[in-house]
């Protein structure tokens, strides 16, 4: 159906378009500025020059070098291993903690929550140092000087960063859950444990999942706690565990980002992009689903 627009309508429409254009321009401008460093790194991952800014011809050599660099591969492996192990353990521990605290008396729940809040607000450096001091204390007064720093101390360090966030992402799901679901499951023949699995867990799964994702992110990104609590182990063997963060930090202290790392950044970026697209698709689908549900 076609009809001519009145002057007012035209004015309104023009304003809306203007509003949209200006808004989007601002968003894109900031976005571009934000991505400059990464994009530069990606661009120069296709040339072998030591410094970015000089172009010595297009090549995939850096990618080849990357996979041949044992140092980087070990660090990468360590990073992934520690991220997976620590986040899985943290998710189980934090989820159990959240469920348990939710069904505890108000007083004990409040105590757990205030302790839980400490690592959330605490500075990473203080977390790292307090843990280290405790480990040293333990090492010199209880183990009689035997070295305690190892994969296990690193694991504890990462878990301390992660568990409070798992707790915090599971808790709202528990609050949103209809408390009668657990009772309904028992009413229909579940024992307490079965009811927990069949009624409570399916309800809080989204929270558990986002807790896991957050844990992985925190672990992958961590530098300070890793630098302080690590010891020998994992793929590094007898040497101190090197993760991507500690390796890059050691390198950039002395000079520019090593060329192979530019290739690595590109690969990470593509992986992150894929994950981001998948998350968006999943999100849009679930939004659509609930919308459909409401209409019916």
């Amino acid at each position: 159906m076609k009809r001519t627009l009145s002057v007012n309508e035209r004015k309104l429409r023009r304003n809306a378009i203007l509003h949209k254009t200006i808004g989007q321009s601002i968003i894109w401008l900031v976005l571009i500025v934000m991505y400059v460093p990464i994009m530069v790194l990606i661009a120069f991952s296709f040339t072998t020059a030591t410094n970015i800014g000089t172009w010595t011809g297009f090549s995939f050599d850096l990618y080849k070098n990357l996979f041949q660099s044992e140092e980087i591969m070990v660090a990468l492996g360590n990073t992934v291993l520690i991220a997976l192990i620590s986040s899985l353990l943290s998710t189980v521990l934090g989820t159990c903690g959240a469920i348990g605290a939710f069904y505890s008396k108000k007083r004990s729940r409040e105590i757990i929550e205030s302790v839980n809040q400490i690592p959330v607000v605490n500075a990473e450096i203080v977390i790292a140092l307090s843990l280290t001091v405790m480990f040293v204390f333990f090492q010199s007064y209880i183990l009689g000087g035997a070295n305690v720093f190892s994969f296990w101390t690193l694991l504890v360090g990462h878990m301390i960063l992660q568990v409070p966030f798992v707790y915090l992402s599971v808790k709202p799901k528990l609050q949103q859950m209809d408390p009668a679901l657990y009772e309904a499951a028992m009413d229909l023949g579940c024992t307490q444990t079965q009811a927990l699995w069949k009624a409570t867990v399916p309800e809080i799964i989204p929270g558990v999942f986002s807790g896991l994702l957050l844990s992985i992110t925190l672990s992958l990104d961590d530098f300070i706690v890793t630098a302080f609590t690590r010891g020998a182990g994992l793929l590094s063997g007898d040497k101190s565990i090197e993760t991507l963060s500690t390796l890059v930090q050691a390198k950039i202290k002395k000079g520019p980002i090593p060329p192979e790392m530019r290739a690595l950044t590109t690969i990470i970026f593509i992986l992150v992009l894929v994950v981001a697209v998948l998350v968006t698709i999943y999100r849009n689908r679930s939004v659509k689903k609930t919308r459909k549900g409401r209409e019916a």
Partner: protein, 287 residues
């Protein structure tokens, strides 16, 4: 029918036993709580002990205010604290000034309907932050801003670049929940765009601002990798000082600075808590 024959006393006994022995969901939090005590509470207690003690020649810990005196009489350390607070405040303000309009625009259905845009802003968070920091330094170097020559400027760029996603995300979550009908009501009641903003949008987004500021301010002061890398060691933030003390085995002094850090954290937490509570009450009053 056997149970019907049980005596009253016996029944009460079973009743009590069932209350005590049966599996309870709350028991699930026990391992978690032990973990928190072992690795959160005890380490902090140890730090506090070290902060107010000194090691005698015999190797014993005795109560002392030496670290306190040492800290407050050292101009270098006080200077570092002041500079850190300053950098922290500037960075928080910059992040909010850039992040707030971006978050508002992203949440405005008339400008952006796509969640992908939000993801694009958050994505850098998932690339290793040391790598990101190194890249920023190298690019700044490439365009002629050398960290050694402009330590404050370079550090601030690095900080804003790093913390912007952390600002946008909480702000966006609050903005998306803004009560649009309240904004329209404000307009309907005769507010011009500026008044609409100050009377409706800004008060409603206070919780987001508070949590964004919380996400930025404290970590800026304590995380030293960014300042170390971008200023090429020219700028020392409070986090560096703490780490350096420990690396030089000055445990008592380091612990005392960690204690200062903890105190600052609790003060900000106290202020922000009051802030968000007040704004919550205010929002409640509207209805």
């Amino acid at each position: 029918m056997s149970s019907a024959k049980k005596s009253r006393g016996e029944k009460n006994f079973w009743r009590t036993l069932r209350r005590i022995v049966s599996f309870k969901r709350k028991y699930l939090s026990i391992p978690y709580f032990i973990f928190l005590i072992l690795f959160v509470l005890i380490p902090i207690i140890i730090i506090l002990v070290y902060a107010f003690t000194k090691t005698t020649d015999a190797g014993n810990l005795v109560f002392s205010f030496d670290s306190l005196v040492e800290f407050f009489s050292s101009t270098t350390k006080l200077n570092v604290l002041v500079v850190s607070l300053f950098i922290g405040i500037i960075n928080t303000i910059l992040c909010l000034v850039i992040g707030y309009p971006i978050a508002y625009l992203l949440a405005d259905k008339k400008v952006n309907k796509n969640y992908v845009m939000v993801m694009l802003f958050v994505m850098p968070m998932w690339i290793n932050f040391v790598l990101r920091t190194g890249a920023t330094r190298d690019v700044l170097y490439m365009i002629g801003i050398k960290g050694g020559e402009h330590p404050y400027f370079a550090t601030l760029i690095g900080l804003v670049y790093n913390y912007l996603p952390f600002t946008i995300l909480p702000l966006y979550t609050t903005m998306i929940k803004l009560d649009r009908s309240q904004i329209e009501a404000a307009r309907d009641l005769g507010c011009n765009p500026v008044q609409t903003f100050t009377h409706s949008i800004l008060p409603q987004s206070v919780p987001g601002i508070v949590s964004a500021a919380e996400m930025v301010f404290m970590p800026t002061m304590s995380s030293y990798v960014i300042s170390d890398t971008l200023s090429e060691g020219k700028l020392t933030l409070f986090g560096n000082s703490i780490a350096n003390s420990f690396n030089n085995s000055l445990w008592n002094d380091g612990s005392f600075m960690a204690f200062i850090m903890l105190a600052l954290i609790f003060i900000t937490m106290f202020i922000t808590n009051r802030f968000s509570k007040d704004s919550g009450r205010e929002a409640g009053r509207l209805w």
